[in-house]
């Protein structure tokens, strides 16, 4: 078949390059509301093009600089109101706008969405010629779903390579060179076409519409398709066709006492006042009060329901898989963290934790994984697997999963885990829950089939701007989830633990190595420090604009001189504007940190950020806006310019003030 296609190949140059940009319209974050059914209510709020999608759209337009006759197609899936954003894309320079719109798609999860979009592309946009050249661009993730799954799943459904979290893309007629974010640095990849690229917001900002473009966009016909037109069985999509379901949604309760505002007539006065307040409290402990209360309040025990018969949907699948991500020769912290929930789940389900250790010369790490909670480590040692790459790693894990049939598979939500899990899920027919903060065993009352599915994995994740906790369940094994880095504490290493080390030799086609790793740049290794620091000083976007985090870094240095373990972090805004590396990002889609003292400097208190630091011991907020949201989750608030406040604090620290902490060195 492939040979035939090759013979029939028409002059390649006649076949124009197609650039397809996947775009989603989202409600303005500040106006997000949720309907009574726990799903997003998109009817009442102002909508915009999802921020990350803007960067994807721009990358598509950039290709036109190299290939003048490229056909630019913007594609979306959603209600007819998405037309507004599709027209905006046309006003920027897109030639064609395509919308998949069908009521029966409502409630689709990322698995179904990825499948439906791939079908739309195959049936309406791409030709049957397998040598067709095309690139699919997408945003990294959406602000309402925040999973980052769909690009991977579209790529898997199209059986083409992918690069996610891309920050720069260079086009050449035969391939793309793409730089992508990885934990603590960047990876540069050479990718053949066709491929899917998901773009992070550090790339080129989306251009503005021209008036001429806006005029054209009013006249363009939006091509709208239904499920029937693209040949998708409605039973495979929507609420009932998706492999995962939202089981319940509860409000997150915050229990931090009201903020104490620290004032004074000048910065020196204010900082003295703060010193007095902090000295008055006892020496701070690492135990975080806010955290336990929030989780306890948010997750009430499910009442026992026995109105339907219980059913075990696992069909013989058993065991918990975790993937051990290796950077260089080190285990990535999040891979160690997931052994904690994996261990608990395995104990409750009376099964074993099996960790997949894939790489080259990594066998030495197996014993450590066992000490940290694994019962068995499956080692895949192969020179070509030295560095992580999505296609071979998906293939290897797929082979092991098919052989072992685990019931649950867990990944750290790093940039690798967040692309590997969904791609694997689409291949195995499983749903994936992204960025979970709680993982537990539960059951699900299915009112349609009148059965109670049990036991199942309750994957719980903050959602809707971190105001709610959603419990997601899936009934296809393995039940998959990624866990937010920093959420689970690492288990204490127990070197006496016994475990099995098994070697596995996968079958690897050359085709899975079609993406070449050109280089790896791990400049910023300091990200791990955020998890161990006792004091974190985090800056908002103004700190980047005004002094490039200089004063914040100075305060960190001053604390370190006093023997305090301090580190600096940044908000998503600051990172997205390039003032700090991604590894420093605190909050949703970044890291969850829990230091003893957290100092928020010029941080507005966007809920996405607060979610990543609200469990800190003491929170001190410095902001010039007295109405800032940050004070609602702080213990101490200072209203003022940080450029004036920080020097005063630095002075205090130099003269011995350590925020009530004891020196460790």
């Amino acid at each position: 078949m492939a040979a035939m296609a090759r013979n029939m190949r028409i002059c390649e140059d006649c076949m124009g390059l197609k650039v397809i940009s996947l775009m989603k319209q989202v409600p303005l974050t500040s106006q997000m509301r949720m309907g009574a059914d726990g799903l997003m209510d998109r009817t009442k709020v102002k909508s915009i093009i999802n921020v990350d999608c803007c960067f994807g759209l721009e990358q598509g337009l950039q290709i036109k600089r190299s290939v003048a006759d490229v056909e630019l197609i913007v594609v979306s899936m959603g209600p007819p109101s998405f037309e507004q954003s599709l027209r905006q894309a046309v006003s920027l320079g897109y030639d064609r706008a395509v919308l998949l719109s069908d009521r029966r798609l409502g409630g689709s999860d990322t698995f179904s969405t990825g499948m439906a979009i791939a079908k739309l592309l195959q049936s309406q946009i791409l030709s049957q010629n397998p040598d067709d050249k095309f690139i699919v661009f997408a945003g990294r993730q959406t602000s309402d779903g925040d999973t980052a799954h769909v690009p991977s799943q579209v790529a898997e459904n199209l059986s083409i390579p992918q690069v996610t979290f891309a920050v720069s893309i260079d086009y050449s007629p035969t391939h793309l060179v793409v730089k992508r974010m990885i934990e603590g640095g960047y990876q540069t990849l050479k990718v053949p076409m066709p491929c899917v690229i998901s773009v992070a917001p550090t790339a080129i900002h989306m251009r503005r519409s021209t008036l001429a473009g806006a005029i054209k966009s009013r006249k363009v016909q939006i091509q709208t398709y239904t499920l029937d037109q693209i040949g998708v069985d409605p039973a495979q999509v929507g609420l009932n066709g998706s492999p995962t379901s939202v089981a319940k949604v509860v409000n997150i309760v915050h229990n931090r006492p009201a903020v104490t505002m620290v004032d004074g007539c000048n910065t020196d006065d204010i900082s003295s006042h703060l010193v007095k307040l902090l000295d008055a409290t006892e020496t701070l402990h690492a135990v975080s009060k806010g955290r336990s209360e929030a989780s306890a309040a948010a997750v009430p025990e499910a009442p026992k329901q026995d109105k339907y018969p219980r059913a075990d949907f696992r069909n013989g699948a058993s065991g918990i898989f975790t993937w051990a991500e290796v950077h260089g020769s080190e285990l990535v912290r999040s891979s160690v963290e997931i052994l904690n929930p994996a261990r608990k789940l395995a104990d409750e389900l009376k099964t074993k934790v099996t960790t997949l250790l894939i790489g080259h010369n990594v066998k030495g790490l197996a014993a450590r994984l066992i000490a940290l909670g694994a019962d068995e480590v499956i080692v895949v040692d192969e020179p070509r697997l030295k560095e992580y790459s999505i296609l071979p790693f998906t293939s290897v894990i797929e082979q092991i999963v098919r052989e072992r049939r685990p019931e649950i598979a867990l990944f750290g939500a790093t940039t690798s885990g967040r692309e590997l899990a969904p791609r694997l899920g689409s291949r195995l027919g499983s749903g994936v829950t992204a960025d979970c903060t709680i993982l537990k065993v539960g059951e699900y009352v299915n009112n349609f089939s009148k059965t109670i599915w049990a036991p199942c994995l309750e994957a719980i994740r903050p959602t809707y701007g971190e105001s709610k906790l959603a419990t997601i369940v899936g009934f296809r094994c393995p039940q998959m989830a990624t866990a937010r880095p920093g959420t689970f504490e690492r288990l204490k290493a127990d070197n006496t633990r016994q475990g099995k080390i098994t070697e596995f030799s996968p079958v690897l086609n050359d085709s899975v190595f079609c993406v070449e790793i050109l280089g790896i740049d791990r400049k910023e290794g300091g990200d791990q420090g955020l998890f161990t620091a006792d004091v974190i000083i985090a800056g908002g976007r103004p700190c980047g604009e005004i002094d490039d985090f200089k004063l914040i870094k100075e305060l960190v240095a001053a604390l370190e001189e006093k023997g305090i373990n301090a580190a600096w972090g940044a908000t998503r805004q600051a990172v997205d504007h390039g003032y700090a590396p991604y590894s420093r990002q605190i909050g949703q889609t970044g890291k969850t940190v829990r230091p003893k003292v957290y100092i928020a400097v010029a941080v507005s208190g966007a809920i996405q950020h607060v979610s990543g630091m609200k469990e800190s011991g003491k929170i001190i907020a410095i902001n010039q806006d007295q109405h800032s949201n940050i004070y609602s989750c702080a213990d101490y608030g200072i209203v003022g310019q940080y450029q004036e406040m920080l020097p005063a604090l630095i002075k205090k620290v130099r003269s011995g003030f350590t925020f009530g902490l004891k020196a460790v060195k």
Partner: protein, 557 residues
């Protein structure tokens, strides 16, 4: 990259009350004409309107108390119940404020009564007009600014929008987008107060020959949420005096938009001599007055904004037409004094221009001579009859409020002529009024008292409440012509820009090494009031439009 060229029949620049009213009325007239079965040749009917705000109404700001009469003329098919007004004026007081007391005047100064008027939120009104205009087939494009005039052979031939994706030095970036050129048979200048293209047009074609220079006031306005009962819905208060002195032209206003919301503002002439005079500061001081405190105590600031008001009156109106172009609304300076009402006049001037445009399209003649019908019809109109008796009003107050009141009193008796032989009092540009800083002996208007952040706020906080934002990656839209002049100005006048700008666009900073003072610009703070373009003593600041869609997000001001 090639610049795309778009053609249309009429291009309206600016989507405020004037521009939208023009488009609505013109579309109505053309449709009426074209629907007439007796008419053989149809009039071309493509009307395009550009608005620099991200959406209609976002750059609209007014008090506002308006006379609803004009809407019956503009929209005869719409019932008055459908007008998007907040409330009729139910109480109407004029107060005289001293530092600690408020005296209610037992009468309304002439032309100041608001009987039969309504309190409106201009932004809301504009969005409503915009919907009507679009239904009538007007192509409204908001988020695009007309940045440049194309004058060919002494005539306006086209305009260009901003290029975008350009760095601060004007160098194209990777996301560069070229401007779009628009060519039209007739251009309508409806940019509002101190429109920069209107300014350039008047200058290039010398349309203000023999006119008084236009003079302005700056109005700074806030919207507050207040406890129920603190100020009645439908109540209107105007105040004179404090914190201004008698030699300064200005006053405060408070309008009850609803039971729990008020519009509050301060308006002051830009001819005030004190180089440290700061209208924003005046509003803050005003808010500390016991009378105002009683209203806003326990209230909450919701929105902030500022806009200039053209007050020159009849003698400052430029020639309103030229080949292929007409000037309407605040851009021309249609504003009734002393009530400071301009919305109804902007609509009326727009309707007059629409009639002239229709005739021009019918005759396929877009010349100066054809379009002069607009100015002729204006002289026979109620607009002229409203402006004529107060033609010397503002001039009377140029030096002193009390003397001005005397002069205005004489004008009332003499039918507006006042103490003058020619019947025309002259006026200098606002920028010509500026005291040397040394004459103030270190005194700064309103003092240096810090803002309490409950009732009074610094400019930085207020800017947040204007919702203004600008792409940082673009050339400054505020052009400072010469650094040397800046240095001279700082030395002579103490850098008045840092005071008169209500949005802290201008910062006078001292170099820590040399001790030299210099200007630092923050164009992204700008709320598009254009005071700098008017008041800079050396004409050293030129205001132009930034990228379309940038600027304040007033929504309801």
């Amino acid at each position: 990259m090639d610049i795309p060229i778009i053609e249309t029949d009429i291009l309206v620049i600016g989507g405020g009350s004037a521009g939208l009213s023009f488009a609505i009325h013109c579309a109505d007239l053309i449709r009426k004409h074209n629907e007439d079965p007796a008419v053989k040749i149809k009039i071309p009917d493509r009307i395009m309107l550009l608005e620099k705000g991200s959406s209609l109404g976002n750059h609209s700001l007014s008090g506002a108390v308006i006379n609803p009469e004009v809407f019956r003329e503009l929209l005869p098919e719409v019932k008055s119940e459908e007008y998007p007004f907040e409330t009729p004026v139910l109480e109407d007081d004029t107060m005289f404020l001293t530092k600690s007391s408020a005296i209610k005047l037992p009468f309304h100064p002439p032309y100041m009564s608001n009987q039969g008027n309504s309190i409106v939120i201009l932004g809301k009104l504009i969005r409503w007009l915009g919907e009507i205009a679009e239904k009538k087939g007007v192509q409204v494009f908001s988020g695009f600014s007309a940045q440049e005039l194309l004058i060919e052979g002494g005539k306006l031939a086209g305009i260009r929008t901003n290029a975008s994706g350009v760095d601060a030095d004007g160098k194209p970036l990777l996301n560069y987008q070229p401007p779009t050129e628009v060519r039209a048979k007739i251009f309508i200048m409806a940019e509002g107060t101190r429109g920069h293209l209107t300014r350039n047009l008047i200058q290039a074609l010398q349309l203000d020959k023999g006119c008084n220079p236009q003079v302005y006031s700056l109005g700074v306005k806030e919207v507050w949420e207040i406890p129920q009962g603190a100020f009645n819905k439908g109540r209107v208060v105007h105040s004179l005096g404090y914190p201004l002195n008698f030699d300064q032209f200005g006053g405060g206003f408070i309008y009850g938009l609803s039971d729990t919301m008020i519009a509050l503002g301060y308006v002051a002439g830009l001819d005030i001599k004190d180089p440290t005079f700061d209208t924003h500061r005046a509003l803050q001081v005003y808010k500390k007055h016991p009378f105002v405190q009683g209203i806003i105590k326990n209230g909450k600031l919701i929105r902030y904004g500022a806009k200039t008001i053209p007050e020159g009156g009849l003698f400052a109106l430029p020639q309103l037409y030229h080949d292929g172009v007409m000037i309407i609304g605040d851009s021309a300076g249609f504003l009734a004094m002393p009530s400071l009402k301009g919305v109804h006049l902007s609509i009326r001037s727009a309707m007059l221009a629409a009639r002239a445009a229709m005739e021009a399209l019918k005759n396929k003649d877009y010349s100066c001579a054809q379009l002069s019908a607009y100015e002729k019809s204006f002289k026979d109109s109620s607009v002229y009859r409203e402006l004529y008796p107060v033609r010397n009003f503002r001039q009377a107050f140029k030096d002193n409020l009390i003397l001005g009141a005397l002069q205005f009193g004489t004008q009332l008796v003499t039918g507006g002529r006042g103490f003058s032989f020619s019947g025309r009092l002259t006026m200098n540009e606002d920028r010509a009024h500026c005291q040397k800083i040394e004459e103030l002996h270190g005194k700064v208007f309103g003092g240096n008292e810090p803002f309490d952040k409950c009732a009074t706020f610094d400019k930085e906080t207020e800017i947040f409440f204007s919702g203004t934002k600008h792409d940082e990656e673009q050339p400054s839209h505020i052009h400072v012509q010469s650094v040397e002049k800046c240095a001279t100005c700082i030395e002579t006048y103490g850098g008045p820009c840092q005071y008169f700008c209500p949005a802290q666009v201008f910062e006078i900073s001292t170099d820590s090494k040399t001790g030299k003072k210099g200007l630092k610009l923050h164009p992204s703070n700008c709320v598009h009031c254009k005071t700098c373009d008017i008041k800079d003593p050396y004409r050293n600041v030129i205001w132009e439009t930034p990228y379309g869609g940038d600027g304040p997000e007033y929504e309801n001001m």
